[in-house]
Symmetry: C2
């Protein structure tokens, strides 16, 4: 392989550990590396490993009969994969194109990330209330997102929480913190939180445990 | 190589992303992988990458003339390397042996992690106050740790803060949070925090930015 494997691996680990922040595109020299990572098997392996670790944690907890034990899952590149979209944009090597992404998301054809769908099924089965919280604009994307989730097998969640008008332009950490705070105010106990961005996981009311799903293609502040 | 490279890489990334927690030893099948990682060049590459990222952040900030801009660095496997010690213990494949580690630490011969020493020099040069906070027991290890740090070039730090009797047996996150809180109460502004364990970085008064230095050999809760 022509790319500097050692540097690109360092860079990817730095992204996963939240050391690299506010980056706009995958470094040009690492585009072939990220392509190989996403399609060559290691991404799937990493997803399986994280979901196995979540499974170990889930085995040790139970959902109380009051129905107030909650899990939070992010949507883009947590429940639903946008790899097919980024495949045509150098796997994150191109700058983010809001209009192109809008067209993609409105089509509602993102496939499920299978490891997360498996996790989702277990959470529902064990009696947890699952909240899907996404920074996608509610007005624009509600129908396509709901349709996409249902078509891919994400059925039976408690609520799909999307960005309402009052949170437009607000950082994901701020918006998602506010939504979690609201759930805690309603009496829910956040037992776990899963996302592909650190902005899904840090902030207020982060829950008992959080888990970072891999994503070397883009950064959401 | 005989080990399952793909799994061991997944496992290591999970450690760095704080997905794998409370593990006691490196999985037996990954001991050769961790050995290769630590000695084969990738660990050094990862350290350089993190320190470069810290450098980018440092370039954008300045230490105010009131002398209250602070950085926090952990000691074991952040400033000083214990790789030589773990080399004889299957790179973390053996369970932690407190007596053996005590003998090692009392010898005071841990080499500097050169990338972090380079970072340290820049922080001092730029006028930041550097606090070294370590979970090592103060009574047992103060002299050997101070001697070790000085001998390896860590000179001019503001304070070496070690675990006093009242924090014995307390989780690192709790102890380190309390120490940071104290610094903030004294008026210091924590501009950055660097450690090889997530327990160095999470908790209260975590500072403006924190950076995770790689360590696949052991986990400190």
């Amino acid at each position: 392989m022509a790319f500097d494997m050692s540097y690109c691996l360092s860079w990817r680990v730095a992204v996963e550990a939240n050391n690299a922040r506010a980056w706009r595109t995958v470094p040009a020299q690492c585009v072939p590396y990220v392509e190989d990572y996403m399609l060559g098997g290691q991404y799937c392996r990493d997803l399986d490993t994280v979901v196995d670790q979540i499974g170990v944690y889930i085995n040790g907890i139970t959902a109380a009969s009051d129905g107030m034990d909650a899990w939070i899952l992010d949507v883009d590149d947590t429940c639903l994969s946008n790899t097919l979209y980024y495949k045509d944009r150098h796997f994150g090597g191109d700058p983010f194109d809001p209009m192109a992404f809008k067209s993609w998301a409105l089509r509602g054809i993102s496939p499920a990330i299978l490891a997360v769908l498996r996790l989702y099924g277990r959470l529902i089965e064990k009696g947890f209330k699952v909240f899907l919280i996404t920074g996608r604009d509610e007005e624009v994307f509600y129908l396509s997102t709901e349709h996409n989730l249902h078509a891919q097998g994400f059925i039976g969640y408690e609520r799909l929480i999307m960005r309402s008008a009052e949170y437009r332009g607000v950082a994901a950490t701020v918006f998602k913190s506010a939504m979690r705070k609201q759930l805690v105010a309603e009496g829910f106990r956040i037992r776990g939180n899963v996302g592909d961005q650190w902005s899904d996981l840090l902030g207020d009311c982060t829950g008992d445990r959080f888990f970072k799903i891999p994503n070397p293609m883009y950064f959401v502040p």
